[in-house]
């Protein structure tokens, strides 16, 4: 039946002879390539303190790479020897940035050099976030291969393991991201639909209605938080301050990255070139228009100048490892 409708539409277009593909005032600014990342390996994370100082982390399995992107060019940073793949970054100032990666790697940038911090784990670390430079959380596990759920906290300059209470959700062997609005309101998400919350005193499990892997989260306030994930089909979970709302976004493919500025607009990125916006309330999805890109996006980050998203050819596990980086402006209502 749908086929008929489409054919009808096509036929009608053919009839009226209209070739007008006139502009749409609501169309967001178009994505363009930020820089040529073909030889930068996989790009997994983007974050920054200013539009002209974005940190883009990634690399290949045995060699991490960190790019500083000033809006025009991306420049590799000098990393400590034998730094493996880097997965995520977060900071508090241009001279106070944490970067985490495989094999328990934690780097700290003080404005002039990286320091390798002891994590006491060999698990891959997938996410890092903190309320302040001396209250930082890092999470990990060995991703799609089973590992050990890892939750680290940095206080007084020392990283230590934090144990979660026993979870109802079974076989949770990895957390993928951590984010919060304050030291007393921190969330971590992970494998098999895991969501845990820290209220400043203890971690508790939230059962949010899905067992799909949850990969990333972001929000604009304590009652405006979006979590995305799904290895195959896009999954979204929102927290409005009272309720968890879960929905599969299929046919949208799996989602890896999320960022929000407007409390009603969730920017998501994911596999097979997926770039989309999701309405926070209705969860209606609008693809964000970048056709022809088949590689996977992994992270998206916004700033006053617009959005930047990065990714790579993650299906090519044997290499060569390719990166992608796109950017676009942000409309006022985004």
């Amino acid at each position: 039946m749908k086929r008929t409708t489409l054919l009808a539409a096509a036929l009608l277009v053919a009839c009226n002879g209209s070739g007008d593909d006139g502009g749409d005032d609501d169309t967001p600014p178009a994505w363009t390539e930020a820089f040529d990342a073909e030889n930068d390996g996989w790009l997994l994370s983007v974050w920054g303190v200013a539009p002209n100082d974005l940190w883009i982390a990634g690399g290949q399995p045995d060699a991490g790479r960190l790019l500083r992107y000033d809006g025009t060019a991306a420049t590799p940073a000098d990393l400590p020897a034998e730094t493996p793949l880097l997965n995520w970054s977060y900071g508090f100032a241009a001279d106070d940035v944490f970067v985490v990666g495989n094999e328990g790697t934690i780097l700290h940038w003080d404005g002039s050099a990286f320091t390798v911090e002891s994590s006491s784990t060999t698990q891959n670390l997938w996410g890092v976030w903190g309320a302040s430079s001396d209250d930082v959380w890092a999470v990990g596990g060995n991703g799609r291969q089973e590992g050990d759920l890892t939750l680290l906290r940095r206080q007084n300059g020392v990283w230590s393991h934090v144990a979660l209470p026993e979870l109802e959700r079974p076989r949770v062997n990895a957390l993928f991201k951590v984010w919060g609005t304050s030291a007393n309101n921190v969330y971590a998400v992970g494998q098999r639909g895991t969501v845990v919350h820290f209220d400043g005193t203890e971690w508790t499990e939230a059962l949010v209605g899905t067992s799909e892997d949850l990969i990333a989260l972001w929000g604009t306030s304590a009652d405006r938080i979006a979590i995305v994930g799904g290895r195959n089909n896009g999954q979204i979970v929102t927290w409005d301050g009272s309720n968890w709302n879960y929905q599969s976004l299929a046919p949208l493919p799996g989602l890896n990255g999320v960022w929000m500025r407007d409390p009603d607009v969730i920017h998501v990125v994911g596999v097979s070139g997926t770039l989309a916006k999701v309405d926070f309330t209705s969860l209606e999805t609008t693809e964000d228009g970048l056709s022809g890109e088949a590689r996977d996006f992994h992270a998206v980050y916004g700033h006053s100048e617009g959005l930047t998203t990065v990714g790579g050819n993650f299906l090519q596990v044997q290499g060569p490892y390719r990166g992608i980086a796109y950017e676009r402006g942000l409309a006022a209502d985004e």
Binding site: M1, K2, R3, T4, T5, L6, L7, A8, A9, L11, L12, A14, C15, R144, Q145, E168, R169, P170, R171, R192, G193, L207, V208, G209, T210, S211, R231, N232, N233, S248, A250, P251, L252, P253, G254, V271, S272, G273, T274, A276, T285, E287, S291, G292, A294, R295, N313, L315, Q316, V317, Q318
Partner: protein
Amino acid sequence: MKKTVGVLMLTAAFACTGDDDGDDTYVPPPIPSNIFAPMGEIVPFATAEQREIFERGKEVAERRITPEMGLGPDFNVTFCASCHEKPVTGGSAPRYRNFLLVGQELSDGSFTATGKNGVQTQFELEGPSRVPTAEGTNVIATRNGIPFFGVGLLAELTNEAILVNADPDDADGDGISGRPNYDRGFVGRFGRKSQTVSIEGFIRGPLFNHLGVTTVPLSEERKAALPVPSAADSNVRALTAEYGTTGHGQAAAPDEPTVDEDGVIDPEMSEQDLFDLIAFAMLLAAPAPDALDDAGERGERAFMDMGCDGCHVPTLVSPRGSIPVYSDLLLHDMGPELADGIRMKEATGSEFRTQPLWGLAPTGPFLHDGRADTIDDAIRMHGGEATAARDAYLAATEGTRGEVVTFLEALGGKSKKTDGLLPPNAPVPAPGEYGGPAAALTGADAEQFVRGRKIFDDDTKLGAGLGPTFNGDSCRACHFDPVIGGSGPLGLNVMRHGYVDNGVFTPPANGTMAHKIASDPEQRPPAEEQASVFEMRQTPPLFGLGMIDRISEVNIIGNEDPMDVDGDGIRGIAHVLPDGRIGRLGWKANVPSLAEFSRDATSNEIGLTVPEDATSPFGFLTDEDDVADPEITQPELDDLTFFMENLAPPPRVNATDAAVVRGEMLFDSVGCTGCHIPTLQDEDGNDVPLYSDLLLHDVAPPNAVGIADGMASIRHFRTSPLWGLRDTAPYLHDGSATTIEQAIAAHEAEADAVRMNVEMLSAQERADLLAFLESL
């Protein structure tokens, strides 16, 4: 639905042309003739290079994977064709290959797969042997092997070709809603829940989950070279308001390399083998349909009139034309009648993909879990969205129902339909050959041999008494290597269990057997998972069993030396059963005769109750299924026993080769003949060259634990006959030896001295010894 689509499409055309005089029938593109071939053969349009790839891929599908090649550490089967063998490689499987999906539903309603990515594996190479059910598992569902015929043609379908039939909100009010499953933006089409869009993924997943064989995804270059090109960069996906999504070609497979910890370097399958295997599947032709006779044509009309085509859409439009798949490949809610609780991507626990009907006839049992013995049963078991169509079928006359089945059986493959796995009219091998009689049979004997072979081969149906729990659904299920009557690979091992405390074995209250499969598709057969010992039992070959059956007891007892009077370190005791007879069959020599072996195996392995026989304690007289007991008659048992009794012993080969002759002398001189006595005499004084004394010996390693059975202690095993050794791997009671050398090296205790003698042989001498053993 088909007619509706046609009418609406016409309306669209009118909107453009304004011509209202046109033909009001939608005419799909013609069905191409070059997509059909006999079941298991390659698509006619394949290139010469693809034909070579196809043959290589078929060999990979049928290749027995050993632990040294990467099998395990946990597994269900040892080769791909295990579950895709009926009626030929690439097809479905009888119930003995059923497997379990497992999961856990949490308090928030979410569902997570347990087991090995949702698959319950049965066997472990290390540890307790039986993989326990994961803690928290509260959903168990059975799956029957799914045929691969024509899957390459399905892979070529665009998303739109499937979505055209979607009606998720039942807008047309016909009670059939059909919605797609999705996989990374593409419309799912493979698997019982349309959960997969990539044939590579559909193969790599089971390789890992069922065999424990690790792989890495094909490179982009290899993906692009597949018969259905599958490189990621060649596939463009875009969301549209109209269809939801569009896509072209075969989607790339997801996932990362699979890895395991079995000591074999990953990946355990080469990229070339993986490529060939995927290409083989993609090149399997659609089953060629038969011409419809009058009854078939009436059945086809009834099929449509009943509304079966609401889901079983006759054709989908592929780039090659219309393909008669008889499925919309969409998900339908089949109601509580068929719900299994397993969720896969967008599919709920009661939704299933409309199963393609091409090639239906020879691929029973039917439905996702094989619960239906017949096509008629399968239709009757439909529910949910199919309720109206099912009720229409039930309301039809018996004649009309039969015509519907006639039509369905004409959709390809009927000429290969049998009640088991032997091909139709399979000839009886010549006397003395594998699978043939020991001597020429004539008249009633020849007929009884064929009847017995058919009973041996036929899949036992649920309606005939299979279960309630079982290991095999036929004798052939386990005894088929190298031909019917032979041994079986590791994936068909039997599991026994019990308790060992201070060396004393105690069986569970319900016996030592831990079955693999239950007739109830929502159950795993119970086992006492806290048992301290699980022991696998490998399927022994049956060739020549009739000759063993006729060996006189006195000749068995004559070789006993329980006190090792001759001081050779080899004792050997006869297994004296409670009724005083001597056991001679089975790994513990616990069965005294072939007739009782028939009773024991049909009951213990298949779940068939047997007629009462006051002279025999073997076999179950009753069970807990709904089929009247006994479930096999005495004449049937007699036929079955007659077949096994007359199966030829393994043919000897190369007996006069110099190496074989040298090896035979070594076999004696190192002491192997201390237990593996070359011949025993039967009641008529004939020598039976079985190379066994049929006695129990302690050949177990120190601290061995296992199952005791009567006089056979944990450490005792019957000397295994060696004839046919070359064709009946794996070896030893638990199949733990892939090669003859490994089997020899595993002999301990009473065999210590002999093993050490073998270890001291030169390389040439060892080769001669193997040549002899492989000649038997």
